[in-house]
């Protein structure tokens, strides 16, 4: 059936406006990153009169951006690997077995979604300081402490999504694998995990993005050497100057890995959400 004109026009107008709204900051980020400092400090210009790539070289000098990049990469990467691995085992147990306390476990996992991050900030700070005092293991200010902290955000969501995804993998498949002589772990790794790759990728992307973008814990729990990008970008404003062109250039550079990864894998994310969240 052909759509009526009213629908076509509403669609055209709405989608145009929305695209403008969505892309406006992206345009500002890209165009301002190519302007000299005088231009970004004065009245805004839609079309840069003076194009320069200098900010892209300066960003590495003004602050140790490469170090922050490395810290973010290590922390987000490790948090992702840990949370996905742990979530795979937990979700498999919940999806395939019935056991006492299963409901308590899933409800607890789900309800941690509602806890405000601020609730954990001070207690984790206290725990890390105490562990440090007692054992000499410096969690506070270290990358390890931050990795552990980031599991707070990604683990419940990962478990929750993966349960839904594993449920959508037919049970007959892993039963058949078990008949063929696979143990439960064999069935998990040879059958369930391969069949659930889209869901696992979706969860990994989500976990990486949360860790890469986290601000609160990064700003309280890092020091000079472990600072991540989230905190590092604040270094471009000094008392006298705000290097907006460099801030925009650095924002673009730190966004590229996640945006590229996300857009490449978004197909999986959509499938993953269909199976995991909308059930």
């Amino acid at each position: 059936m052909a759509a009526p004109r009213s629908f076509l026009w509403s669609r055209r107008i709405f989608l145009t406006l929305l695209t403008g709204f969505v892309l406006l900051p992206v345009y500002v980020m890209v165009s301002s990153s190519l302007k000299p400092l005088e231009d970004v400090s004065g009245t805004f210009q839609w079309i840069p009169s003076d194009l320069t790539v200098r900010p892209y070289f300066d960003i590495w000098e003004t602050v140790p951006l490469a170090d922050y990049f490395m810290n973010s990469l290590i922390v987000a990467g490790a948090a992702t690997v840990c949370s996905v691995t742990i979530a795979v085992f937990a979700a498999y147990a919940v999806s395939r077995y019935s056991f006492r306390g299963k409901r308590v476990f899933t409800v607890t996992v789900l309800s941690t979604q509602m806890f405000p991050g601020i609730l954990f900030l001070l207690p984790l700070f206290l725990i890390y300081v105490n562990i440090g005092n007692a054992t000499g293991i410096a969690l506070f200010g270290s990358r390890g402490g931050l990795i552990l902290t980031y599991l707070t955000f990604s683990l419940p969501f990962s478990i929750w999504m993966l349960i839904g995804y594993f449920d959508s993998v037919p049970r007959d498949l892993d039963e058949a694998a078990k008949v063929d002589g696979c143990g439960p772990l064999g069935a998990l790794f040879r059958v369930v995990v391969p069949a659930a790759v889209p869901g696992i990728v979706a969860v990994a992307v989500y976990a990486f993005m949360t860790a890469w973008g986290e601000v609160l814990f990064a700003s309280v729990m890092t020091n000079e050497t472990t600072r991540t990008l989230a905190v590092g970008l604040q270094g471009y404003s000094t008392q006298n100057d705000v290097y907006w062109n460099q801030i925009m250039a650095a924002s673009l550079v730190v966004s590229l890995p996640v945006v590229a990864g996300f857009l490449l894998l978004q197909r999986y994310l959509v499938t993953g959400l269909t199976a995991g969240a909308v059930k």
Binding site: P4, S6, A93, I118, P123, L124, L185
Partner: protein, 331 residues
């Protein structure tokens, strides 16, 4: 892992051997069946304990203590104060309680608008992109960009756009359209509420869009065809078929959006810095400010616990209401 692998091979060799070994095998098999789920859960349980349950317990304990910077190294020795922190937080006539109440009400209003707008944009975009047309996949990708960008990079760009003297917003409103006599401030004063809302909706609506798109895929085509046969136009199909079918998806989505928006810290923190203007003082940032700027951790913890209780009650009531609604429609 080693345990299950060993018992696995044990079972296999036992089956090959005499039937006399059968009872032992069955017992170890049952033990494995019961023990295995817990073994698989163990890492998750330990971590949940370490990063969620223990901190929560400590948070509750601290909320009954007078914890300032003097006791932070050894917080167990901080003096007990009973309910003092709580009465300070809810004494709405005193400065601390009054500020908390104001921040709470601001957050409620902000969440209402933000969730509503995110949902509206998400539904509209998903519905308009449902029918095939050229450039649909491209638009879908574009629309996910705000979701993919790291919060600080995106929000800092908005902060730049909202600068009074060199930002894009005032350039358009004041210089180009001439709508204002003097360029307004966006990051301080009353306007900051609008600023926060715009940024929050920009960042948040793609998630609604993603979930609703996923939900749309589960609506069978036949329902639309049946509706079309009955003479329903495309607008009526959206109103009568699409929106009602999305109900279960919407219930989960609205709850998740509510919790995320209500607890949001990153957006106001990057936009305004450690102290948000009063009009945009969201509760998470307010509690952070109360704990880490004034070094009064006990009061901050009491505020966190109160916030958690509020969220528990709202979520519980919401789940109860929506599940009852679902039962009613099923019957």
């Amino acid at each position: 892992m080693t345990l299950t692998a060993a018992s696995g091979t044990g079972e296999r060799t036992a089956r090959k051997n005499s039937p006399g070994a059968a009872p032992r095998t069955r017992r170890s098999g049952r033990l494995r069946r019961i023990g295995l789920p817990y073994l698989l859960l163990l890492p998750a349980l330990l971590l949940e304990l370490l990063v969620h349950l223990v901190p929560m317990a400590i948070g509750i304990v601290v909320s009954f203590k007078e914890l300032t910077q003097f006791h932070i190294r050894d917080w167990g020795t901080a003096p007990w104060t009973g309910l003092d922190n709580y009465s300070l937080a809810v004494d709405f006539n005193a400065p601390v309680g009054e500020a908390l109440l104001k921040s709470f009400l601001t957050t409620c209003l902000f969440t209402l608008f933000s969730v509503g707008l995110c949902w509206l944009l998400g539904v509209a975009a998903a519905v308009f992109l449902q029918e095939g047309f050229r450039g649909r996949g491209f638009l879908r990708t574009i629309f996910l960009v705000p979701y993919a960008l790291p919060v600080y990079a995106a929000v800092i760009t908005w902060a730049f756009m909202f600068q009074r003297d060199n930002g894009l917003i005032n350039h358009v409103l004041h210089d180009q359209l001439g709508l204002t006599d003097t360029p307004p401030f966006w990051l301080i004063g009353e306007n900051s509420f609008i600023t926060l809302l715009v940024v929050s909706v920009w960042k948040g609506w793609p998630f609604a869009f993603l979930i609703i798109m996923a939900g749309l895929q589960n609506i069978p085509r036949e329902i639309y065809e049946a509706a079309a046969l009955d003479g329903a136009g495309i607008w009526q199909q959206i109103l009568r078929v699409t929106l009602p079918s999305l109900r279960p998806v919407n219930q989960v989505l609205v709850l998740v959006l509510f919790l995320w928006t209500f607890n949001d810290f990153n957006t106001p923190f990057v936009l305004f810095g450690k102290a948000a203007p009063e009009a945009a003082d969201l509760i998470s940032l307010h509690i952070y400010q109360s704990s880490f700027q004034t070094w009064n951790f006990g009061t901050g913890s009491a505020m966190s616990v109160l916030l958690l209780l509020f969220l528990l009650v709202v979520t519980g009531a919401y789940l109860l209401l929506t599940s009852r609604g679902r039962k009613a429609t099923d019957a």
